[in-house]
């Protein structure tokens, strides 16, 4: 029996606003407990929500980014439940009329192909505060700094069959929101949180099985593992004739298991109803068009341009567009190098290796895009051999800013002066008559091997700086 995983995702993105969704409190991460609060965030009596313009705009930007329909009239609803980090006893969310409706988001996969994910909806809502269990012995402490931070919850159809697809989607979503500048997508700070709805069914089956919801998986690293562990648990249940219970489960990376969230196990009825404190959000076409005109180039468009206009492979284009910083580095580098293919090769080769070795992201790169661009340009104009270029790259990485200066200081300049090379070649021919005779007597096939001797000697004489193409050309001419 082969089991197929069926997964749908709910991703909570923290939007990059200065203030909260319904109050003027700051949203910065890591402030002292309960300092980023106003009467509204504490749900003090008589306080009322007033919607943040930036949260609405960013939701529209996202909707346009995934090619979704924007709800011309959307509303906020109250989702009622008691929890100490939910100060009002209800969360303001969009249940009935979300601001972003259906769309399709193209996700590039490892193999260069495109996996279209159907977006069901994306809606605005407020985040809850934090329960702190280790600060005060015997108690749980409540910090409401995060309460009211604007979230966009992005819900997909159950289109995922493999963990790889899920990870690819999340990476592409991360790329999209950072491109759009609407979220920093920082998983470790909770700016991007992922819930996976997972069920199993036998291959070929069309009905869905009973699903569980894996909550708040906060790193790419854990997602594949969590999916694997939960799928195995469900498979064991199903194969032993038991059934899967529809519930929320938490992945514990330390124990490598998922477990039921007991505290939320109490059957709840959220009693959604339209929030009478907030009027409908009405968005006109002019607003949508104005926002559309101001959108940056999206990853999918960039990918297309990189392959068709710049001649890159789909694979390279996918890698270079996976986040905005990488794409911006690439484009800045190309502006200097004027050679997109070589730039792609350097970025995905030596630069990527150097970053990985030191565990750095592209934004922490020690080489400037202009520096790398000039390096590539110096290869193309014959100043550097590719071997010497690696030495220059090491110099750049070590913090030396100027490519030409490194070439100068280390004496790495390739000898491309035909006069200087001619002298070397003439000397060689004069000093090695036996080898010259042997070469001249040989057939074409043998000559190709024998010329290696002269190349090696000439390189030695030029201290490795002879331009190999030019040298070959001169030798053939003078020996022939």
């Amino acid at each position: 029996m082969n089991w197929e995983k069926v997964m749908g995702l709910e991703v909570h993105l923290q939007l990059s606003t200065h203030s909260k969704i319904f109050s003027s409190s700051a949203t910065a991460f890591g402030a002292d407990a309960n300092t980023q609060t106003n009467p509204l965030d504490m749900a003090l009596p008589g306080t009322l929500p007033v919607l943040n313009h930036a949260a609405v705009s960013q939701a529209i930007v996202f909707g346009l980014g995934v090619g979704a329909e924007i709800g011309k009239v959307s509303r906020f609803d109250r989702k009622n439940y008691f929890y100490p980090d939910l100060p009002k006893g209800y969360q303001i969310s969009q249940f009935f009329e979300p601001i972003v409706k259906e769309g399709v988001f193209d996700v590039p996969l490892e193999d260069g192909s495109i996996f279209p994910v159907r977006i069901l909806r994306a809606h605005l809502e407020e985040d809850a505060g934090k329960s702190v269990h280790d600060a005060i012995p015997g108690h749980t402490g409540i910090d409401l700094n995060r309460a009211g931070t604007p979230l966009l919850e992005v819900v997909t159809e159950p289109d995922f069959r493999t963990a790889e697809q899920v990870v690819a989607y999340l990476k592409a979503l991360h790329a999209l929101v950072t491109y759009l500048g609407i979220s920093d997508g920082n998983m470790s700070e909770g700016s991007m949180r992922c819930d996976v709805n997972l069920s199993l069914r036998l291959e070929g089956e069309t009905e869905y099985g009973t699903r569980t919801e894996l909550k708040n998986i906060n790193s790419f690293r854990f997602i594949e593992r969590a999916i694997h562990v939960e799928a195995e648990r469900q498979q064991d249940l199903l194969e032993s004739g038991q059934s899967v219970v529809q519930e929320t489960r938490l992945f514990d990376p330390d124990k490598d298991e998922t477990r039921s969230m007991r505290s939320k196990e109490v059957a709840n009825d959220y009693r959604y109803f339209p929030d009478p404190d907030l009027l409908p959000i009405v968005i006109d076409d002019a607003t949508i068009e104005r926002i559309r005109d101001a959108l940056p180039e999206l990853p999918a468009v960039k990918r297309g341009r990189y392959t068709t206009e710049l001649g890159l492979s789909q694979y390279d284009a996918n890698l270079l567009t996976q986040d905005r910083a990488t794409a911006e580095f690439f484009e800045a580098c190309c502006a200097t190098s004027n050679n997109p293919k070589a730039t792609a090769n350097w970025m995905l080769g030596d630069l990527s290796a150097a970053l990985n070795k030191e565990g750095l992201a592209i934004c922490g790169c020690k080489v400037t895009p202009e520096g790398l661009g000039l390096l590539i340009k110096r290869i193309d104009d014959g100043t550097l051999s590719s071997k010497m270029a690696k030495t220059v790259f090491e110099g750049l990485w070590a913090g030396e800013p100027d490519v030409d200066r490194i070439i100068e200081d280390k004496g790495l300049k390739q000898v491309s002066d035909s006069g200087a090379l001619e002298t070397i070649v003439d000397d060689l021919i004069a000093n090695n008559p036996a080898q010259v005779d042997q070469y001249r007597a040989a057939d074409e096939g043998k000559q190709k091997k024998l010329i290696g001797f002269f190349v090696g000697q000439a390189m030695k004489a030029s201290k490795g700086q002879a331009n190999p193409q030019l040298l070959n050309q001169l030798l053939k001419q003078k020996l022939g």
């Binding site: 003090l44 009596p45 008589g46 009322l48 008691f82 749980t140 009693r271």
Partner: protein, 489 residues
């Protein structure tokens, strides 16, 4: 001792002329409150030092040339408005010790106009009630008859003004909570259009209907106060960004030719005969002033009660979830765990009527009942609002009784819960539709005051006040006062 039953406009003239100081008015008001309140229980917090300081400040401002019409006039706030540094309990054990760190916008605006707040008025707990018997601090007594209720939920405000403790008290009206107690205590009370006055800092009962308004002796005074209370507030999304006219400017206009609609459903079997006769006579008075009386129909009037008692408790059930014993408010002793903390804090902190409404509201919002009750009620609400709108396309205002009865006796065990809810039958429509409405004294039945209600078009407060003022120029029901001797004796 200054005269207790002065109007704001009269006090303003005396203050302007230097015949009296704000300090004298405030000291006298405090003294009167201290004398009468043990009988009335209308005031549940007096802020003497704050009031005296504000009075001195007002006197100084006047000496410096300021002439705001409200400057230095004493007043009281319903204890539903957050007052920075002063107890704000909503007459609930839940908030008995709550001291807000901020002012409600209404409080801020009246402070800015120079009014002097003496303290806070008793009310039905969380504004849920029509008799002021649900207060954690005990029932308020009607100054016209201490054995009777003052109405509710703004019963403390109505009783305080009626007994001359202050010429103004603020009230809030979700289903009649300004108009019904105003009627039962013989004063003038205005519920503005939903969105006319900011709700920020006003403790929420039913968010789509709550509205603050003035309770005073005359329509003229209500106009003066509304000028200061109304207007846009960036802290309330449902506060309309519509300019505030001078509500005093048009008071003297003739009402000749104005069309006044009388809905036949307002004179139904619910209505006490004496009240019916009194209100009919008052309508005749409008006719005598030149108004054209037109018979109209609001066929869904009775349905309004069912609609209101679905929607208001539903909204309240969510609005009152924040009272969980965590950040402020009542917290039970030694909670064993989180659920115990919630359960006991809420069960011990809320009174019976509040709990009853939370339960009903929770039920009508639950998945199994949502469509049958909550959604249905919101649809019927639109039908009712449409009926009002179509009648108001034909007439300028609607007139009728404010309440079906005069003040009833305290602790009347014969009244069932739903009988009590029927007290609001004539006032609820204006809340469901968001319309402005005013109650003016229209006469006495067996020595108890009766109110006539006028309902206007959205943001049509100026016209309501104009008609009410013209009525009060022709009648002196608003000048009648209860016998204070009986209160101190």
């Amino acid at each position: 001792m200054t005269e207790p039953f002065e109007t704001i406009s009269s006090l303003a003239k005396q203050l302007d002329a230097g015949r009296v100081s704000s300090r004298e008015l405030v000291e006298d008001a405090i003294a009167r409150t201290e004398t009468l309140n043990s009988a009335l229980n209308a005031v549940i917090a007096l802020d003497k030092p704050g009031a005296l300081a504000a009075a001195d400040k007002a006197d100084k401002a006047r000496a410096d040339g300021s002439t705001s019409p409200l400057l230095g006039v004493p007043m009281l706030h319903k204890d539903i408005f957050c007052t920075r540094g002063v107890q704000t309990s909503c007459a609930s054990k839940m908030l008995a010790d709550f001291v807000p760190p901020y002012d409600a916008t209404v409080v801020k605006k009246l402070d800015a106009a120079g009014m002097v707040s003496l303290g806070k008025c008793n009310m039905d707990e969380f504004a849920m009630g029509s008799s002021n018997e649900t207060s954690f601090f005990g029932a308020v007594k009607n100054p016209w008859d201490l054995n009777r209720v003052p109405g509710g939920s703004s019963g403390g405000s109505a009783a305080a003004v009626a007994a001359g403790l202050a010429p103004l008290a603020t009230g809030t009206d979700t289903g009649g909570s300004i108009r019904q107690p105003a009627a039962l205590c013989g004063i003038t009370g205005l519920k503005p259009t939903y969105g006319r006055v900011s709700r920020y800092g006003m403790i929420a009962f039913a968010s789509s209907m709550d509205q603050a308004g003035p309770m005073a002796r005359t329509a003229e005074d209500c106009a003066l106060v509304l000028n200061a209370m109304a207007g846009h507030d960036p802290l309330d999304s449902t506060c309309a960004d519509i300019s505030v006219p001078d509500y005093s400017a048009g008071l003297e206009q003739s009402i000749e030719g104005l069309r006044v609609g009388i809905p036949k459903e307002f004179f139904s079997s619910h209505l006490n005969d004496g009240v019916a006769a009194t209100v009919t006579a008052a309508i005749k008075e409008l006719e005598a002033a030149g108004a054209v009386i037109v018979d109209v129909s609001l066929p869904s009037t009775d349905l309004g009660v069912s609609t209101y008692y679905v929607i208001a408790p539903a909204e309240a059930s969510a609005n009152l979830s924040r009272y969980d014993g965590v950040r402020y408010g009542y917290r039970c002793d030694n909670p064993s765990d989180l659920q115990d903390l919630y359960l006991r804090s809420r069960t011990e902190g809320f009174g019976e009527e509040v709990k009853r409404r939370i339960l009903i509201g929770t039920f009508t919002l639950s998945a199994a009942s949502y469509d049958q009750y909550f959604m249905k009620a919101q649809q019927v609400r639109r039908l009712i609002a449409d009926e009002y709108e179509s009648v108001l396309n034909d007439v300028d205002v609607i007139a009728g009784p404010s309440a079906p009865n005069t003040a009833f006796v305290l602790n009347d065990g014969s009244k069932s819960i739903t009988d009590m809810y029927m007290e609001d039958v004539f006032t609820i429509g204006a809340n469901l539709a968001g319309l402005p409405a005013i109650s003016v004294p229209a006469g006495l039945v067996d020595g108890l005051p009766v109110g006539m209600q006028l309902i206007g078009s959205r943001f049509g407060e100026a016209q309501l006040l104009n008609i009410a003022h013209q009525f009060q120029r022709r009648t002196d029901w608003h000048s009648l006062t209860p016998d204070l001797e009986g209160l101190t004796g």
